[in-house]
Symmetry: C2
Subunit: 306 residues, 2 copies
């Protein structure tokens, strides 16, 4: 095989009580990428359709991830990458992660899959490092593995994939304001109370338990973030109203997607997820803030070959 | 039925990364209690064998829990309680919880079980409040339900039972020094870093995941406590050596049982748990500190009728 076309999905990191350790994979929104073997070694970003991103491989998240992988595997040939960008940069649903994860997935596949998708995570993380300054895994891991992914530990890297209950749907609204990851990080408090940490531990443990037992109510009861949402939500216009509208429409719970500005809700069943979408949209309509809306099942396997 | 004899088990609260939210139920160590209906209303502690504890119902943890339950259920008769105490007070393996949980379990059973074991938890918590000043649930819940119990939230109380993998065994060593729960609480830091909280969240999520998937290695990798053990271990003689000895003997992981001074280890298989016991004992032998040693499977159902 000399060419591969893939769908690389958007992802929701943090997932409320799972700050910096949880992510989930979306199914109905993502980038497409075409990667082709070339006789000449190295990585070339041929074209990026839909976004004004740098083409120089060492300045592009897909390029940097691809370079990290080819440096490790040292293949006989090079790769050309074309990216059809559907996920908006800075949306908070893993735009850079989709590019980085997609690049290493495609190249690994063209090389006969010497590495597992889990083994590709550290290479994709290099793209995240370029994008945000920190080599975080909570978007690239769900993009590569699907379902929910737990980053139990970074040193050493320990990733656990958790299947999502079948009827779980995500709703995402992306208010199109600029919110830099760095700014979203800067509002975080370095110190928190032991009591809040304990509450957070109870909730993430409850969420994990709910995922394994398909207990939608428990998933909903656990979707509370004590640590980050209370200080970060002020950066997102109408956050509280959007979340309240989703809950009123029947969503199980929700929060900030990644470091924002997207807001997500989880629901049981596509109908409720769509009702939540309408309710969330109604809050932003009339504010003059443009937005995008996504309703998606949880993608069970991550990146797909088209 | 006018009389019931029960076995009320010891329990391990906190379970390393599960500070204040997790507990597990032991099987091979516990108290026995005999509870008898009496024509005269009220609660009478007839006798406590094996410990010098107050007999006045309102000053006894079993008595207080029983009074809370009978106040709610308002039965036509009273109850007499005899306690055969095998769990040493102040050991850190739920001595007061066993008495409190046992009392409400027995009375509920004699009344034809109007409440579920989970519904009994808040009444048993009243005994804990008398014992330690705080109505915590992380010992009474596993005593009443068995397995592992997660206290996802206290307000409202939300308890999730998680079955333990079959081959999981606990080893507990109880160095017989005096360590008051209040003193063990006083060393805790009120504030912690967000980074440590995040690491703790990763570990408790990993532990819960390991319990649902019978992944013993993951359980072991997750048994790290960032928040409490690093400041509390100094109160326990030879803690680091005891834990290291258990790990060297093949245990998956371990930590402080409850607020100490008991130290626990979890192992896969009874043989490894016994080897861990020997290794842990070897550390305290020769120090002059007397100790008790327990090796136990995880009790799947909690309190038993004898």
């Amino acid at each position: 095989m000399d060419e591969i076309r893939i769908f690389s999905p958007a992802t929701i990191a943090n997932v409320s009580c799972g700050f910096d350790v949880l992510g989930l994979c979306l199914d109905s929104v993502g980038d497409e990428m075409v990667v082709t073997k070339s006789a000449e070694k190295g990585i070339r970003i041929k074209q990026i359709i839909g976004a004004g991103l740098p083409l120089a491989a060492e300045k592009n998240v897909a390029g940097v991830a691809a370079l990290a992988l080819t440096e490790a595997l040292d293949p006989e040939y090079g790769f050309e990458i074309t990216i059809y960008k559907n996920i908006k940069a800075g949306s908070g649903i893993g735009s850079s992660a989709a590019s980085a994860a997609g690049a290493v997935f495609a190249i690994n596949h063209l090389l006969g899959s010497p590495l597992s998708n889990k083994e590709l995570v550290p290479f994709a993380m290099q793209g995240e490092k370029l994008a945000s300054g920190s080599a975080h895994a909570d978007n690239v891991a769900p993009a590569l593995l699907g379902g929910f992914t737990l980053i139990r530990s970074y040193e050493p890297l320990d990733i656990i994939k958790i299947d999502a209950p079948n009827e779980l749907y995500a709703t995402v609204i992306h208010p199109q304001i600029e919110l830099k990851t760095m700014d979203a990080r800067s509002v975080l408090r370095e110190n928190i109370t032991l009591k809040k940490a304990t509450i957070q531990c109870g909730n993430i443990a409850g969420l994990i338990s709910g995922l394994y037992t398909n207990d939608y109510d428990l998933i909903g009861r656990s979707l509370h973030d004590e640590l980050v949402e209370p200080v970060r939500y002020i950066l997102i216009p109408k956050f509280k109203e959007i979340k309240a509208a989703a809950m009123k429409a029947g969503a199980l719970g929700g929060g900030i997607s990644g470091s924002g500005p997207s807001v997500f809700a989880l629901s049981r069943g596509v109908e409720t997820a769509q009702k939540a979408a309408q309710a969330m949209a109604a809050v932003l309509e009339g504010t003059g803030i443009p937005f995008e809306l996504h309703v998606s099942p949880i993608n069970p396997t991550g990146i797909k070959i088209l």
